[in-house]
Amino acid sequence: MTTPQLDPKLFAEGPKRDSRFDVRDLWAEMQNFDASDPRLINEFLHRQMNEEINGMEISARNLADFPDAPWELRMSMARQCWDESRHIEAFRGCFERRGVEVGEYPVMNFQYRVITNIPSLIGRLAVQNRSFEAAGIDAIQNEVSEAARREGRTDLDELFDGQLADEVQHVRYANVWVKKLMELGGAAAVFQMTKAVSLANEALKIIAGDAATMYPVAEDVRREAGFTEDEIDVAKRLVAQGTG
């Protein structure tokens, strides 16, 4: 379960997986099918299911690790566990209908390992919900339009559509609470958040190498999730740098 090659200063121990799963650490170790490969969508669905597991595990850990967090925030995190657990089953249903089994493709647990290495809740929220999940929103929005363009309204389209509505809520509550926690915690909270984002960026460089996939920023959905115009502009600039 612990991977010696990753620096424990940047990565916590990984979550448990049963024997069906083949867990890899680096993006380069994944299968990375070519865009024309018919297995691409199956591998994407399988990987996405595991990312939803990571999302659920991170929220669960936040509940267990921060018992003194405000109750409303804990309710939102508990709700996220429920949402992610439903997404896991929905993704599983989608790839099983396409003849794929659990564990057929390798998976990565970098999100869990990066985020649970962050000691503050504000830092975890900023990285998971405002960064990973927000990037997830862009990816889903992109996939929704791609899937609709390719296949019309399919089970995938339906899944992404429903999932997107939930993910918007997750990003929104994180946006609200990061602001509130910053108000409550003052300079110390800002420092914790900055440190968390910097740790996560460093860790992601190791995981992704040169192979990170950037999706176009879903401006309207990000706006709905509580991002300001300035924050959306920053996200667009980062995508432009990453894909340029």
């Binding site: 448990k16 597991i53 850990r61 508990a78 992610e84 896991i88 649970t116």
Partner: protein
């Protein structure tokens, strides 16, 4: 004599403490349980426990204590909860929660409904009856899952004995 408002809020706040701990325990178990389907079951039930705690916490405010007020149970009962939290093996976790702890909690909720004035304390009764419906569904979820992935129920007589040794769980008023 039925329960006073003070008796009621102490019982409701104790139940809230337990539901919050169950939320935290299932949350702590989620990343540390390997079997994916069990992980998903815990992930789903975390929110059930959170909602129960939230409903009970709104009721504490109506019973003249702060909103989301919790009361730690009697110390020896806290030890039983922590023994549940300490289970490591998946089969034992499932049995401890769904075969021992939840059925015991259901009995305690029913005892509360029997003891209180159903009319005057109807808001508490309605909340508890909604929770009982959820707990029944949660046990069914767990049972169906165990049949599907062939996890055998593990008898835990010591935990059951320790739980049932407590006729009352509300801490004595200090």
């Amino acid at each position: 004599m039925s329960l006073t408002v003070n008796d009621r809020v102490r019982a409701i706040a104790t139940f809230r403490f337990i539901e919050v701990r169950l939320m935290e325990i299932t949350a702590a178990w989620t990343p540390t349980t390997a079997e994916m389907e069990v992980k998903v079951l815990f992930g789903r039930h975390i929110f059930d426990f959170a909602q129960h705690a939230d409903w009970l916490g709104k009721r504490t405010f109506e019973l003249r204590k702060p909103e989301q007020y919790s009361l730690k149970p009697a110390e020896s009962y806290v030890d039983v909860i922590e023994a549940l939290a300490a289970e490591e093996e998946t089969g034992k976790r499932l049995s401890a929660l769904y075969d021992v702890f939840i059925p015991a909690l259901e009995s305690r909720y029913r005892a509360y409904v029997d003891a209180t004035d159903r009319l005057l304390d109807e808001p508490s009764v309605v909340i508890v009856e909604r929770i009982l419906i959820d707990l029944e569904r949660m046990k069914r979820d767990a049972q169906r899952l165990r049949e599907r992935i062939a996890v055998v129920a593990v008898p835990l007589p010591e935990l059951a004995r320790r739980e049932s040794a407590h006729s009352a769980i509300v801490a004595p008023q200090g």
